[in-house]
Every structure is written in C-alpha cells, then in structure tokens.
C-alpha cells in the first residue's frame, strides 16, 4: 500500500472496536431497560388478574352470605 495512504487510514482499524462498542452498548443499554419494563409489566398484569379474581370471589362469597342471612331472617319471621 502507498505509505501516505497507509498513514491516512492508520487510525481506521485501531478505532473500529471502540466505535462498534460505543454504538452496540447504547442499544444494549436501551434494550435491557425495555426488557426490564416489559418483564415488570407482565408480572404486574399477572398479579392484577389474580387479585381481580380473588376480589370477585370474595365479593361473591360476601353476597352469598348476605342473601343467606336475609333468607334466614325471613324464615325466623315466618315461624314467629
């Protein structure tokens, strides 16, 4: 290779790993944060579904208990 061209391009190969690392690490950092958000969202959504089911079950149980006590009270009234 022409010695002047060699001098002109002398910094290209040595700097390449740093340039590649700089760009790659930015995208890695952004992707890791995005994955962290997605994981957290999935976990929270799953918890929310479970809690909603639990809440619905509790409300159904409570309303069943309330209707039972009402009918029991009505029965007592009839007997008396």
């Amino acid at each position: 290779m022409n010695p002047i061209l060699e001098q002109i391009y002398s910094t290209v190969i040595p700097s390449a790993p740093y340039v590649i690392a700089a760009y790659a690490l930015i995208w890695v950092a952004l992707l890791v944060y995005l994955l962290f958000i997605m994981r957290g969202t999935k976990k929270a959504q799953a918890q929310m579904t479970l809690l909603e089911e639990e809440l619905a079950a509790q409300e159904a149980k409570r309303s069943a208990e309330a209707s039972l006590s009402t009918s029991a009270a009505l029965g007592e009234d009839k007997v008396s």
Partner: protein, 257 residues
C-alpha cells in the same frame, strides 16, 4: 379541598401520550437507525493530524489522518441532550410534587430520573470509548468529564436515597430536592467547556462548527433518540402505575379479610 384536588390535572396511564407512544417508538427506531446509516455512509469524514504527503481520495486532496472515532459524536451528543431533557422533566415534576404533595407527580419524576440515568450511562459509555481511543486513557479529570460524573453520581444518589427512606412522603420530598439539584448541575455541565479555557473536551463551535451534512445527521439522531426516550418514559410510567394499582388492590383485599 376537593375543589383544589379537581384543579390539579394528574398524569395517568392511558392518556393521549400513550396512544401516540407506539408510533413515536417506531419513529424513534427508524430515525436513529437512519441517523446511524447517515453517519457512516453519507456524512463526510473528519480529518486529524497531518501526514507526510498528499493523496487524492474520492476527488479531493487529503493530507491528514482519517478520524473514524469522530462518528461516535453523532450518538454521543444526542444521548447527552436527551439526558438533560429527562432531568429537566424530572425537576419539573419534582417541583409540582413539592407544590401539591400529589404522589403521582413524584412517580413521574422518578420515571424521568430513571430515563435520565439510562441516557447518562449511554453518554458515559460513548464518551469513554472516544476518550480511550483519542486520549489513550479511560478517564481524566477534565472539567466536562468531572461535572458529568458528578451529575451521574447525583442521579445514582437519588435512587439510593429513595430506597433508603421508608416513609413515602418523606422519601418523595427528599428525592424531589435531589432531582432539582441534579438539574442545577445541567447548565454547569453544558457551559464548563466554554467557561474553562483549559478544557480539552471538544466543543463544536471551537472546532470550526459543523457542515450541513453533519448537522442533518446529528438532528436525525437527536430526533430519533428523543422519540425513543419519550416512548421508554411512557412505557415505564404505565408499568409503575400498574404496580401501584396492584399494591392498592392488595391493601384493599387485606383490609377486607
């Protein structure tokens, strides 16, 4: 009291920013990829030290070394600007929290600080890569690097303090003060290279400004990364609000049992 609460419009998940967030994220990915391609395929090269002769390359006479490491600049400066903008938002919401004591503003400030930390780390990574190659060292106590390191430490301190204080309102108040302090460091970071003449950190204007192609590429990268930052902010805010709702629901169930 109720009237006062009604006057304060609270940020919430599912509002209009969330409806545009997926489109903004897509635009951010496209623009930053385009910026990356422009930086390497379209923008003219930057030259450094002189060589022992002149050579004709691509129709122009070249007598200096080609500086590929300068290509880091097209992402380094935009990520730094996005970190400054995120810090400004964090401080804005911190001030609103201090004024209203409304926890929602504290949540917004916390998410903005997280996004700021992410972009501060990106700025540090890109800066370190350039410094290692151009200056031959991983670190030097240069004014810009030092002030930016202080900024990063303040942001890290914000999260340490946040987790260290148990009482939510006290934790939010201290955190709000720290995010305002972080914002105060932003203009110092930005201006230090101009105020201290011995600073060796490159300054665009001092280096002779930018050519039109460099400016266009930088603007595309900046716009792309701003879009990515915004989309990440909204995604994290939605996740945080969902987690807060889960906690509230858990508490309701515990009270009922």
């Amino acid at each position: 009291m109720k009237e006062k609460a009604r006057e304060v419009k609270l940020p919430e998940s599912g509002q209009w920013p969330d409806r545009i967030a997926p489109v903004v994220l897509g635009a951010g990915i496209v623009l930053s990829t385009l910026g990356f391609l422009l930086a390497f395929l379209w923008v003219g090269p930057v030259y450094g030290a002189s060589v022992d002769g002149v050579e004709l390359i691509g129709g122009s006479m070249v007598s200096q070394m080609l500086l590929i490491s300068q290509k880091i600049f097209y992402f380094h400066m935009p990520v730094a600007i996005v970190s400054f903008i995120a810090l400004a938002f964090a401080a804005y919401y911190a001030i609103r929290f201090l004024m209203t004591k409304e926890q929602r503003f504290d949540s917004c400030s916390q998410v903005a600080m997280e996004v700021a930390l992410l972009f501060v780390i990106c700025t540090m990574i890109t800066g370190e890569m350039w410094t290692r190659f151009e200056w031959g060292v991983w670190w030097t106590w240069e004014p810009r690097l030092t002030t930016y390191l202080i900024l990063m430490l303040i942001v890290i301190a914000y999260f340490i303090l946040r987790n260290a204080v148990d009482e939510p309102e006290r934790s939010a108040t201290y955190s709000a003060v720290i995010s305002i302090i972080a914002l105060i460091d932003v203009p110092i970071c930005f201006m230090v290279t101009r105020l201290i003449p011995s600073s060796i950190h490159p300054v665009v204007l001092r280096e002779g400004g930018m050519t039109a192609d460099m400016g266009i590429c930088l603007a595309v990268c900046l716009l792309g990364l701003l879009c990515v930052g915004f989309a990440l902010y909204r995604a994290r805010f939605n996740q945080l609000r969902l987690s807060q709702r889960v906690e509230a629901m858990k508490q309701t169930l515990e009270e009922q049992q």
